[in-house]
Amino acid sequence: MSLNRSDIENIAHLARLSLREDEVAGYVETLGNILAMVGQLDRAETGGIEPMAHPLAGLTQRLRVDEATENDRHALYQQNAPQVESGLYVVPKVIE
């Protein structure tokens, strides 16, 4: 599986990553190599095999009673935010 510059630029866009010009060539090569290595999986006969999403079979999602268990700590949490105003997270204008 080989990738070109525009493939990498497209993947980076989907992943919301800006790449410097000089980073792109490196990723063309290394992602291509990784996908080639991953291509070994084609050797495995997997007809009729269930995909495994979780390493412990038979466990199901636990549920709890629907009641409030947490306090409002937004002021504490927002201490880590890059920009807040009146308790809100500030981002560049989205709607003109």
Binding site: I11, Y27, L56, L59
Partner: protein, 489 residues
């Protein structure tokens, strides 16, 4: 009073010295803080050393001991990998993205060990977001191997491993997604256990690949690992994958002899990739087990050779999803003067993440993208099922599996940074246990060119007690785990 310096004693010995008032926790904490500070220029093992808080916690521990309220780990200093959230303390995950992040809460592992009375000395350096096998992807610079500072300590828990190997702390927490506890344990000559998936809570442990990540322990001996694991394991309603099963008394189980233990030697792990000198040390270790009355059986895991390709689909896929939360809005790095929201996302992430993390996010994005999902992700999940079934089948015939932890001893800094695939192949023997969710540990079993070699033992789900007992039996017969680099003695 024993002549052994405090830093050379293990967790169990320190706990009993504290309980018997041979020395105080403040005295011990001050001694280890001094060693951590002094070692920092050479090893770079820590991201944060929290001296003031540590001394305050030690003083509280001394109070508890004096008033007879002490538990088995009260006053014992430890280090946490900087992947665990620590309330009021900077938690970076080795990334520029979280360089200024102060966690508003404790991870359950941290809370459990706090409740057990341990004293946190600080936060250990690590590969960025736990993605790496050499501790060279950290935003805070590489960690050096205490046995030879030109060599890597392994990764991603390289800081935790170096701290224990250089006897700067008796034990450290760590995490293992594809070998990040066991491989650094092997490369630094210490003992490291990755428990069963779900045994230890992942709440507050910054996520990399959620179906593989598991918290565990690093210490000099299996006995010390048993003590620490007992204090941190257990059901946690805050982690939906935490398993509601009682925690056995791991320390009590250590006495189980190795006599009659059926050890499966994994045929596929003694292939051409394994260093010949490493293999000699392993064969000598197997002979020790035979002498102890264990039986060696040849075992095959026919699909385990596909572990690395399977992992490099599943782990990046989960990573690309988990790391989507770092958006430059609620916490973490934000770029200067974003033009618009898209520019804010892209540049904050592009600047905040390092090269390897970006590589994995993009690999994951690709294998999950429209048109490729079935060919890569679903295929890898099916192969994961085959690999997992290999382990289940093997454990019908043997108690534990044995083999190398890593193909070679520690390698020089910079030797593998330019070729990701060469780096990924370091985890060729460790990834299988993560894919199957089974517990595994690494214990030191010899030296090659003055560098430690690790032996890996793998057990069925929830067999931590059995693995620790098998490791302990070996450590009663050998002294590899007690070796300390001369400069750190």
């Amino acid at each position: 009073m024993s002549a052994a310096p405090l830093h050379s004693r293990g967790l169990a010995a320190l706990a009993s010295g504290l309980a018997q008032r041979e020395f105080s926790s403040v005295e011990l904490t001050r001694h280890l803080l001094g060693r951590l500070e002094a070692a920092q220029p050479q090893l770079n093992a820590m991201v944060s050393i929290t001296g003031e808080a540590a001394l305050a916690a030690a003083a509280r521990a001394d109070g508890a001991i004096a008033s007879g309220r002490a538990g088995p780990l009260t006053g014992v200093p430890i280090v946490h990998k900087d992947i665990f959230c620590t309330e009021g303390v900077r938690t970076t995950c080795g990334s520029r993205m979280l360089d200024n992040f102060v966690s508003p809460y404790d991870a359950t592992v941290v809370a459990n060990l706090k409740a057990a009375g341990t004293v946190m000395l600080g936060k250990a350096n690590m590969d960025e977001f736990a993605m790496g096998s050499s501790n060279e992807t950290s935003w805070f610079g590489p960690v050096k191997n205490p046995w030879n500072t030109a060599m890597v300590p392994g990764g991603s828990s390289g800081g935790s491993a170096a701290v224990v190997a250089a006897r700067l702390a008796p034990a450290a927490t760590a995490t293992d997604t594809g070998g990040s506890i066991r491989q650094p344990a092997a490369l630094t000559g210490i003992t490291g256990l990755k428990p069963t998936y779900g045994r230890v809570s992942r709440y507050g442990m910054i996520a990399f690949a959620s179906s593989l990540d598991q918290a565990g322990v690093l210490a000099a001996s299996a006995e010390d690992c048993a003590l620490l694991l007992g204090a941190m394991a257990g059901f946690d309603p805050r982690d939906s994958t935490s398993v509601d099963q009682p925690v056995p008394d791991y320390a009590a189980a250590l006495a189980t002899p190795a006599k009659g233990l059926r050890i499966g030697l994994v045929k596929e792990f003694f292939d051409q990739g394994l260093d010949a000198e490493n293999e000699r040390q392993l064969r000598a270790a197997f002979a020790v087990y035979e002498k102890l009355g264990a039986t060696l059986v040849d075992v095959s895991l026919p699909n385990v050779g596909l572990s690395v390709p399977t992992y490099y689909v599943v782990a990046p896929a989960e990573c690309s999803s988990n790391l989507a939360r770092f958006d430059g809005v609620r916490f973490g790095h934000r770029c200067d003067q974003p033009r618009d929201l898209l520019d804010l996302y892209k540049r904050s992430r592009g600047e905040g993440f390092g090269a390897e993390v970006k590589r994995r996010i993009m690999t994951g994005t690709y294998v999950l993208s429209a048109g490729y999902y079935d060919a890569y992700y679903l295929k890898a999940q099916r192969v994961r099922q085959l690999i997992s079934a290999d382990f289940v089948r093997a454990f019908e015939h043997v108690d534990v599996l044995a083999g190398p932890t890593s193909p070679t001893p520690a390698f020089p800094l910079g030797a593998k940074t330019s070729d990701p695939i060469t780096m990924y192949l370091n985890d060729i023997y460790t990834i299988g246990a993560n894919l199957a969710g089974v517990p595994a540990l690494s214990i030191p079993c010899g030296f090659v060119h003055d560098l430690p070699v690790g032996l890996q033992l793998v057990g069925p789900h929830f067999s931590e007690a059995k693995l620790l007992a098998a490791a302990h039996a070996f450590q009663q017969e050998t002294d590899w785990h007690a070796r300390v680099p001369a400069v750190w003695q």
